[in-house]
C-alpha cells in the first residue's frame, strides 16, 4: 500500500476493489499507519479504486467516527463516477473532496 506523510497528514493511496475481501486487512493496515505516524489527519486517495460497496463505505465511516472522537480529520479524494455514485446514495458526499485538501 502506497502512502505519504507530510504536514501532519497521512495520505493513503488505495487501489482495487473496496469490498469485504480487501477491507478487513486494509482497515487494520491504515489504523497501524495512523498510529505509527502519530496523526489523526487522513486523506484516502481513491483515484485508483474501481469499485466500492457498503463494506468499503463502512470502513471509511469507521475512520470518520474514529477521527471524530479524537478531533481529527478525514477526506476522500479522487473518486471516479461509479465510486462517487455510491457515496451519493449513502449520503456520504460530505467526505468527498475534489482537490484533496484538508482544512482545520
Amino acid at each position: 500500500m502506497e502512502y505519504n506523510y507530510e504536514r501532519m497528514t497521512l495520505t493513503v493511496f488505495l487501489t482495487g476493489d473496496l469490498d469485504l475481501g480487501v477491507c478487513s486487512s486494509l482497515r487494520q493496515e491504515i489504523k497501524d499507519l495512523l498510529k505509527e505516524n502519530y496523526t489523526d489527519r487522513l486523506i484516502l486517495d481513491v483515484s485508483a479504486v474501481n469499485f466500492i460497496d457498503s463494506t468499503g463505505l463502512g470502513m471509511i465511516l469507521d475512520f470518520y467516527k474514529m477521527m471524530g472522537k479524537s478531533g481529527g480529520r478525514i477526506l476522500v479524494c479522487g473518486a471516479k463516477a461509479t465510486v462517487k455514485n455510491i457515496f451519493i446514495l449513502a449520503g456520504m458526499t460530505f467526505l468527498l473532496s475534489e482537490g484533496g485538501r484538508l482544512y482545520g
Partner: protein
C-alpha cells in the same frame, strides 16, 4: 429460458469479488449499459457479503450459491445460503439496520436500489434466498 449460470462459492471474503465479476461477465451479453453493469456488481456484492457475514457468521466452510438467469432479457440473480436466516425481513431491509458492529446496514438498500425488483425469502435456521431482477434500460 435463456442462458444460465450457477456458481457454488465457499463463504470466503475473497469470493465476493469472484461472484461480482462472474455476474458482470454474465450480464455483459445481455445489453446492459456500463453503469447498469456497475449497479449489478454492487447488488451482487451486497448479497454475497450478507450471506457470508450474516448468514454464515463468516464461517468459510459453508457455501453460498449464486444463480444467474437470462429470463427473456431480464437478468434474474438468486443468492442462496443455508445459514441462520433473518428473523424480521422487513426490518432487515431498512436503511442502517444492522446486527453486526462496524457494518453500514445498507446492503438491502443498495440491492433494491440497483435492481428493478428484489425479493427476500428467509426462514430462521434454514437460510435465505435473495432474488434480484433487472432489465436493460435500452432494450
Amino acid at each position: 429460458m435463456g442462458n444460465k449460470a450457477k456458481l457454488i462459492l465457499s463463504a470466503t471474503e475473497d469470493n465476493v469479488a469472484v461472484a461480482r465479476i462472474t455476474a458482470a461477465a454474465f450480464c455483459g451479453q445481455m445489453g446492459f449499459t456500463v453503469s447498469e453493469v456497475e449497479e449489478i456488481k454492487v447488488a451482487v456484492s451486497e448479497g454475497i457479503t450478507n450471506a457470508i457475514i450474516h448468514g454464515y457468521n463468516s464461517d468459510s466452510e459453508r457455501e453460498v450459491i449464486l444463480e444467474l438467469i437470462d429470463d427473456d432479457n431480464t437478468l434474474v440473480v438468486n443468492i442462496i445460503d443455508e445459514g441462520v436466516g433473518i428473523e424480521d425481513v422487513e426490518k432487515a431491509k431498512e436503511a442502517t439496520y444492522t446486527t453486526v458492529d462496524g457494518r453500514m446496514g445498507l446492503g438491502f438498500v443498495f440491492m433494491s436500489t440497483f435492481s428493478d425488483e428484489m425479493e427476500v425469502v428467509s426462514e430462521v435456521g434454514e437460510g435465505t434466498i435473495v432474488t434480484l431482477k433487472k432489465r436493460p434500460s435500452l432494450l
